[in-house]
């Protein structure tokens, strides 16, 4: 572990963070919702993801400030995002994220989404206010098995506790078919607290899986 450096993400890391989002969103599938639900190629979706990070909005999964990175020989090799939901009266992260997407992706993409939105029925969950929300974990292949996820989770929780000493809970949303991620989270003390299942099987054309778990850890 000595050769790894953990640090907060910075604007220069945005291209890496876009790759993190894409890899984490796909999970164990080849479905990228930012592409499939908006009728975009993966390259186009990546450009919009970069544009969202560049807006520098704090308090959601497209905030540079949310991410902790692990660096190896000066290069980012792993990352995980985390923020305290609605901290200091901030807007709910779902509103911040939706505003970012509406603003960045443009009308044509949202018109396409409109025709597909019903496939998401049953799968959309609210995030718990004042819980630490962890989202978009990625560890590059050659650095797996080095306990980087443990270090990233610890770093995000420590940071959350400093910011908000009354922090009681951390939550992670994960697709039900991502068994490796679920195992890693369980090893870090998280347990499945609830699940959400899409009511329309067509969702599998657009998303990695039709069921999401909310995993929680209480402090």
């Amino acid at each position: 572990m000595n050769e790894y450096l953990f640090r907060k993400a910075m604007p220069k890391d945005i291209p890496f963070l876009a790759d993190v989002v894409i890899a984490a969103e796909k999970g164990v599938s080849d479905k990228l919702s930012y592409s499939t639900l908006f009728n975009l190629s993966e390259d186009q979706a990546r450009k919009f993801i970069i544009a969202m990070f560049e807006e520098e909005i704090d308090g959601c999964e497209f905030s540079v400030s949310s991410f902790l990175l692990a660096e190896y020989n000066g290069e980012p090799v792993a990352a995980f995002g985390g923020w305290i939901e609605g901290f200091n009266g901030e807007m709910p992260s779902r509103v911040l994220k939706s505003n970012l997407i509406s603003y960045t992706f443009g009308r044509e993409c949202i018109e396409f989404l409109k025709t597909k939105a019903n496939v998401m029925n049953g799968l959309i969950s609210e995030r718990e206010p004042l819980a630490l929300q962890l989202e978009y974990l990625f560890v590059s292949k050659e650095h797996r098995g080095k306990k980087l996820t443990d270090g990233l989770i610890k770093g995000l929780v420590d940071e959350g506790m400093i910011l908000y000493p009354s922090l009681k809970k951390a939550q992670i949303q994960v697709f039900g078919n991502n068994s490796n991620a679920i195992k890693v989270y369980e090893k870090n003390g998280f347990q499945v607290a609830s699940s959400y299942k899409a009511t329309d099987a067509a969702v599998l054309q657009f998303l990695p899986f039709d069921e999401k778990f909310i995993m929680e850890k209480n402090f």
Binding site: E55, I57, M91, P92, R94, V95, L96, K97, S98, N99, L100, I101, S102, Y103, R107, I110, E111, L113, K114, A117, M120, I124
Partner: protein
């Protein structure tokens, strides 16, 4: 366009997107008070409002919207600038 016309137009958009009318168009009404107004429908509602009122919102403006009252004010100010 007066305030009541703006409210009525927003109401039509909400009914069309959310497919129900179980809400009251009060200034204090927020997305959290309305069934089905989630992250996905929020994007569609905002885009429909921009389209039907022929206005464009800045990201900073969107992130200041806390309830229906602030949305009406924003649309009204945009229409006044035309």
């Amino acid at each position: 366009m007066d305030r009541n016309e703006i409210i009525e137009k927003i109401r039509h958009i909400l009914v069309a997107v959310l497919k129900h009318q179980n809400f009251e168009m009060k200034d204090e009404m927020s997305a959290a008070d309305v069934a089905g107004w989630d992250s996905l429908t929020h994007m569609i509602i905002i885009t429909e409002i921009e389209k039907q009122f022929a206005v464009n919102f800045k990201l900073k403006e969107l992130n200041k919207l806390t309830n229906l009252g602030t949305l009406i004010e924003l649309i009204s100010s945009k229409l006044d600038q035309k």
